[in-house]
């Protein structure tokens, strides 16, 4: 059977250059945060280990799975668009969006556990970084949900212009970036001890 989804053979930038300046800049800022977290940790290792032990690692792991599923949906949405299967693309985007909502719901439970245990940003350096870094990521995720909404509207259009398609690919990459950042934040904050 022949491949039904056309793949571009020539080298091309996914989305547009501007999106990549933003993505590379944003993940570089997070690289500084990753390093800063470990430097702060080195100053009070025992405190960080003890505080980290109070976190529910299952919440973090479940959220990783939600984001990975959402990323696969976005990959499939892009492929469906290329194959001119607009309805399928819309459904994949909705699937990705719902995974994002599920992430937020798990996060609410997670934050609620911490706050109920009086482990808040002012408690110690670990909880401060935990809330700031996961909060910053959550902020990116909420923007990502707005991006996914825009992609859904694009997928509903009968025609997509070259610029709109660049936005579609760039938006997909933004969503993957939200996933990518969590793939480091979860092990760093929850697992590394």
């Amino acid at each position: 059977m022949t491949e039904q989804v056309p793949e571009t053979l020539e080298k091309k930038i996914p989305g547009e250059t501007g999106v990549w300046i933003f993505i590379l800049g944003d993940i570089s800022v997070f690289a500084v945060f990753f390093t800063y977290y470990l430097v702060e940790r080195s100053k009070q290792v025992d405190l960080f280990v003890a505080s980290q032990a109070t976190l529910n690692k299952n919440f973090g792991a479940i959220n990783t799975v939600f984001l990975l599923i959402s990323s696969l949906f976005v990959v499939l949405a892009v492929r469906a668009m290329r194959a001119a299967q607009r309805l399928l693309a819309q459904r994949f985007i909705v699937g990705a969006f719902l995974c994002g909502i599920a992430f937020i719901i798990v996060k609410v439970f997670e934050y609620h556990e911490r706050i109920a245990a009086h482990e808040i940003p002012t408690t110690n350096g670990y909880y401060l970084l935990y809330f700031v870094l996961t909060g910053l990521h959550l902020f990116h995720l909420v923007i990502g949900l707005a991006v996914l909404t825009a992609l859904w509207f694009l997928a509903r259009r009968p025609e997509v212009s070259k610029n709109q398609w660049a936005f579609f690919e760039g938006g997909a990459c933004f969503w993957h970036m939200v996933d990518l950042l969590w793939l480091v934040l979860f092990p760093l904050i929850f697992l590394v001890r």
Partner: protein, 92 residues
């Protein structure tokens, strides 16, 4: 849903399965005693994390098919940040 099958026929779906498996391995290393040493387990967890980052970049963001400069910047990011993070974890 006969139209679904060709869409799934991409390396990205296999990569996705690897990402899920890697997540399970990290989670086990982080919650149980996979290794005798927490330090060793943590280094492995960090290496797995950046391996996953690279897979997401190359296969999901499609940087595999991007111009050399862009792919190079991303590959450099993975190597440099992974090295710095592991070094700071071990030395700091």
């Amino acid at each position: 849903m006969t139209t679904l099958h060709p869409l799934l026929r991409t390396p990205a779906t296999a990569v996705w399965a690897v990402l899920i498996a890697a997540t399970v391995v990290s989670w086990m290393l982080g919650t149980q005693h996979g290794f005798n040493s927490y330090t060793l387990a943590s280094v492995v967890i960090l290496l797995i994390a950046f391996f996953k980052v690279r897979l997401v970049g190359l296969y999901f963001m499609e940087l595999r098919d991007a111009p050399t400069v862009l792919r190079g910047l991303f590959e450099a990011y993975c190597i440099i940040v992974c090295s710095v993070v592991v070094a700071v974890f071990l030395l700091a």
